[in-house]
């Protein structure tokens, strides 16, 4: 993966090239051994390029190859390896390069303006809504439904930013306190500056291979054993924002495939999508890693720390590493891979890990993508 930064000078195509080159080098493979390419990138509006997949495919190594762009908004980063999985698991291809890229910095004056376009042009845009506003609604609903305080949610931001100090690509690793979070700038109550991840530029990539091809390159493989994705109704006003049902459905799809019956026991750790600190808690519950309303307790008790019983976001998450939408999700899958291989360096969790999960969230509060990996 590349650095995640507020603004990188490289173009989106160059970022895709950097990440895919790194993946090939790490895999000790050459481009000619790649049979297919999956490109994941979220709204075209960020890069300012229509048919963004066409623009990126050259950087991703897709010229002369079957290249598919896949896209489920913020869920794209975890959905891209899912699409890569079906390329290989179908038997159609032996190898697949998966590249996720996002370049949010071109949008002026601020990337937030792109999010205006995810609202329905007839029913919602006339209200003058922003994404931060709608997430503030969801955060408030979650707090109200379970009696959760802002300070309890702030503990997630503290944890993840601290974790990110050990990530070489991190944009916003920092040692902060709950008080720092509470004092930070109010954006849309109850969302404050330190509750939310930054806009970023960055890319990540990985190479998937069928078993017989993989055996030529490594005797220490990591397997994809469960995939799931789900998108809820577009009418968010019809949903109870206190609980992400779409994520539970996506999780159950993945757990069924991976034969996971008790996720807290059968999994060892998780990279959970955290564009906001409350979303880590929200998603833990949707993933059935905590009872509804109880994820804050696990955080408070240190269960989700790197040395805890069930580490969550040992990478530092989006809050600490950064949030170039699609690349952020793939960063999480990469982190699960590195943790399982014992290659996470200072971020390595204390316990022995054999199975991990990565999850991302997208569209308008409505999409869950889940992937489980094991040694």
């Amino acid at each position: 993966m590349t650095l995640f930064r507020r603004r990188l000078l490289e173009t989106g195509r160059e970022l895709a090239f950097e990440a895919s080159s790194m993946a090939l080098e790490a895999a000790a493979m050459e481009r000619k051994e790649v049979e297919s390419v999956v490109v994941g990138s979220a709204p075209d509006a960020f890069d300012g390029v229509h048919m963004k997949g066409e623009y990126l495919l050259e950087g991703a190594g897709g010229v002369g190859l079957p290249t598919s762009r896949v896209y489920v908004g913020g869920g794209t980063g975890v959905f891209s390896p899912i699409a890569g999985w079906w390329h290989v698991a179908s038997g159609q291809f032996d190898t697949c390069m998966v590249v996720a890229e996002e370049k949010m910095s071109p949008l002026h004056p601020h990337p937030q303006y792109a999010f205006w376009s995810i609202f329905d042009h007839t029913l919602e845009r006339p209200l003058g809504v922003t994404l931060l506003w709608i997430f503030a609604l969801e955060m408030r609903r979650y707090m109200q439904a379970y009696g959760i305080k802002e300070e309890e949610i702030a503990l997630v931001a503290v944890k993840n930013k601290l974790n990110a100090l050990d990530h070489p690509c991190a944009q916003l690793g920092a040692k902060i306190t709950v008080e720092d979070v509470m004092r930070s700038e109010k954006i849309a109550w109850p969302v404050k500056r330190y509750d939310v991840s930054p806009p970023s530029d960055g890319a990540a990539a990985m190479v998937l291979a069928s078993e017989d091809v993989a055996r030529r390159y490594t005797d220490d493989p990591v397997w994809i054993d469960g995939v799931g994705w789900n998108v809820d109704t577009q009418y968010w006003t019809d949903r109870d924002l206190a609980y992400p049902e779409y994520l539970e459905r996506a999780a159950r799809m993945a757990y069924r495939m991976a034969k996971i019956e008790d996720p807290r026991k059968d999994l060892d750790f998780a990279e959970v999508y955290d564009p906001f600190d409350y979303k880590e808690l929200h998603h833990m519950e949707g993933l059935l890693l905590a009872e509804r309303g109880e994820a804050p307790e696990l955080t408070k008790d240190g269960v989700t720390q790197r040395d805890g019983d069930f580490p969550v976001n040992p990478s530092g998450g989006l809050l600490g590493v950064g949030n170039p939408i699609a690349a952020a999700g793939l960063m999480k899958v990469c982190e699960v891979f590195w943790q399982l291989r014992g290659e996470a360096g200072k971020r390595q969790v204390r316990k022995e890990v054999n199975r991990g999960l990565a999850q991302a969230w997208g569209d308008l509060l409505q999409c869950g993508t889940v992937i489980t990996l094991r040694r």
Binding site: A45, G62, V63, I224, W229, F337
Partner: protein, 392 residues
């Protein structure tokens, strides 16, 4: 030294080597097909096509469709994250839904892989055009151009197409007379197709767009939606559904002509055809198919595409002269309209109804195998080939 970084899926090694069970198209639905559909929203258009497809397939999407794919590009819609806006009208709310932006061949190919990988038994793939809602299509099209080196040149699609047309004529020996023949054939075939809004265009109206490209060489935009329902062979057998079998779906991207790619042949079409032909074990090139639906969003592109998927000049000439498989029995985009990313899905729809014997006055006799060739349009060099047949 760290081991190579790979994420590996344990397939079932033998699955790759054995012939995989086929995936079939068990339902199709098409709605709209007019230059401008006023009073019908994009969502309503999708709903109409989806309803027809599910009726055709005999499925309840809330229970029997495992995954839903939309192939739209955001900027044509005027919103971001298209899959966010589609679940309800497709019957996919609370189900696996995604966007695979591209043409029908990529969408169908990925849907087929979902089925082959065991992630789904039944997948609905949707494509649509509501081009009439787009106030400034040129502006959207320009945004597809590479932003650093190409877009600053200030060329619209007509200029790029005109330059490619000129280069193609020089490299291939084709000329405007051949384009006139393409247009005449499109109108003749389209006159038999109730979905063709532009078959009645006459003469050389409109003048020059960007010499040598004339306005008459460019397919007009239209609004439409098409939904295709794919299923595994096992599902189709269990439910007693007749299927048109997807023998192969292959796609590729070459370099655009202005980026170093050639102009005589469309590399993406050749590569896609070769891969599809290998998968389907075609033994006689285009002689193995009964009809071809190829992209003709510009008249010269049909010539280029046919040349690119033919074994040689003789075969290409035969197809263009009507001595080979029937070419664009629907009338193609020149008669039906440029349906944006739904253009290829319309070709798939035409192929399916032809193979079922449901094409009415334009039915190709004894149609058993069809080839659909697609192109994503300017400024891309991406396209695909799908092979469909009545036998698995």
């Amino acid at each position: 030294m760290p081991s190579p970084a790979k994420l590996i899926y344990r397939t079932g090694f033998l699955a790759q080597k054995m012939r995989r069970p086929p995936v079939g198209i068990v339902g199709v639905g098409a709605a709209g097909f007019r230059p401008a559909l006023r009073g019908v929203s994009t969502r309503e258009l999708m709903y109409q096509a989806a309803s027809l497809a599910y009726l055709d397939a005999g499925v309840d999407p809330r229970k029997e469709v495992d995954s839903f794919v939309t192939t739209s590009e955001d900027l044509w819609e005027g919103w971001s994250i298209t899959d966010e806006m589609v679940p309800d009208q497709l019957g996919g709310a609370g189900r696996p839904v995604c966007t695979i932006p591209g043409d029908a061949v990529t969408g169908l190919g990925n849907a087929a892989m979902m089925i082959e990988a065991g992630a789904a038994q039944v997948v609905a793939v949707e494509a649509h055009s509501k081009a009439s809602d787009v106030l400034d299509k040129e502006a959207v099209e320009r945004m597809a151009q590479e932003p650093t080196l190409v877009r600053p040149l200030g060329m619209g699609r007509a200029a790029l197409a005109g330059l490619e047309m000129s280069a193609f004529f020089g490299a291939s020996g084709f000329g405007l007379d051949d384009c006139d023949a393409v247009i005449a054939s499109a109108r003749k075939r389209g006159s038999l197709n109730p979905l063709a809004s532009f078959a009645g265009r006459g003469g050389r109206e409109g003048g020059v767009a960007s010499s040598p490209l004339r306005r008459v060489d460019i397919a007009g935009y239209a609004d439409a939606a098409v939904v295709v329902v794919l299923a595994s062979a096992e599902w189709a057998r269990k439910k007693g559904r007749q299927a048109v079998w997807l023998e192969a779906a292959a796609w590729s991207s070459s370099l655009p002509w202005f980026d170093g790619g050639g102009a005589a042949l469309a590399g993406y079409a050749t590569a896609s055809f070769e891969r599809a032909a290998r998968k389907a074990e075609l033994r006689d090139g285009l002689g193995s198919v009964d009809l071809v639906e190829a992209d003709d969003s510009y008249s010269f592109k049909l010539l280029q595409h046919v040349l690119s998927i033919s074994r040689d000049w003789k075969e290409a000439e035969g197809v263009l002269d009507g001595r080979g498989p029937a070419l664009n029995p629907s009338g193609g985009s020149l008669a039906v309209g440029n349906l944006l990313e739904a253009s290829a899905m319309h070709r798939v729809y035409e192929a399916v109804i032809q193979l079922r014997g449901e094409a009415g006055r334009r039915q190709i006799e004894r149609a058993r195998r069809a080839l659909v060739q697609s192109w994503r349009g300017i400024p891309t060099a991406t396209g695909g080939v799908a092979l469909l047949s009545v036998s698995p």
